[in-house]
Symmetry: C2
Subunit: 135 residues, 2 copies
DNA sequence: ATAAACCCTATTGTTTTAGTAGATTTATAA
DNA sequence: TTATAAATCTACTAAAACAATAGGGTTTAT
């Protein structure tokens, strides 16, 4: 299951991407438009900013805004920041690889074999979609 | 992330599928061979039996065994029983569809648009793999 | 009598999804 | 210059759900 964090993050990015200009948009406005708990959204936007997707301005007239062209924001990086690894098991993860404690031989593991294919197919989807593509 | 339940379930099914015959195999043997908590495995095998994948025999010489040919067990049904919906959001699920409370229009939702593709690509993998294929 | 699956319940730990309270920064008006 | 309001930022807490077992007794086949 997709976490609400990721869902809300994607919706917020989409909302910002569909703005006519790149003027700051307030958290409250996004929260209201997308039916998201404002405080929860606040922390999500913060991590999106810290990971280079958004810029922010404090004080009156402040808010969040995209700092890149939506076409230059691949879903791979968005998903990895919000949801974590794209792979369903660490032993097939490209960016978060970890050996299974219980599995003696990955090459003969049926779970590994299946999940490798699932990862590749998901990866292809995320690579073929930028933020601009899902608007 | 794949739950351990699913991971263990897949491993147990693979273990049973790679037996030379269809004689009952005890829980303890599977648990030991695959490094799985025996009590946890017990409940997993039970749900696999109740969902028509396994048969069981009580008493001495008892255990679990496959009741179908591994080639006739598609990963779609295994995953749905162990892990639940294949879709990452209910609004794109074939077997567990549910409307999002917050989303007024699915056809214009970016999350829906992306996750529909992810579901389809995962589904293709699961449909193309039977238990026999991942041994 | 024994060995196995079966069934029920409780517990522990982690993650998710927030809510609360306040601090800090900035723009604007007095 | 000062006050005020509008925002983000930070830290702490907490409730709820979920994951992953552990324990102990029951039933059934040999």
């Amino acid at each position: 299951m997709l976490s609400k964090k990721t869902k809300y993050g994607l919706k917020a990015l989409s909302y910002l991407a569909s703005q006519p200009d790149r003027q700051p948009v307030q958290i409250a406005e996004i929260a209201k438009a997308e039916n998201i708990s404002q405080k929860f959204l606040e922390s999500i936007l913060l991590t999106l900013r810290k990971n280079g997707f958004l810029g922010s301005r404090k004080g009156k007239g402040g808010g969040y805004y995209l700092i890149k062209d939506p076409a230059d924001i691949p879903m791979t990086s968005v998903m990895r920041v919000l949801e974590g690894p794209i792979a369903m098991v660490p032993c097939v993860s490209l960016n978060f690889y970890e050996k299974c404690a219980d599995c003696p031989d990955e090459s003969r593991c049926s779970v590994n074999k299946l999940m490798l294919q699932v990862r590749d197919s998901a990866l292809e989807v995320y690579r073929n979609n930028s933020l601009a593509d899902i608007l």
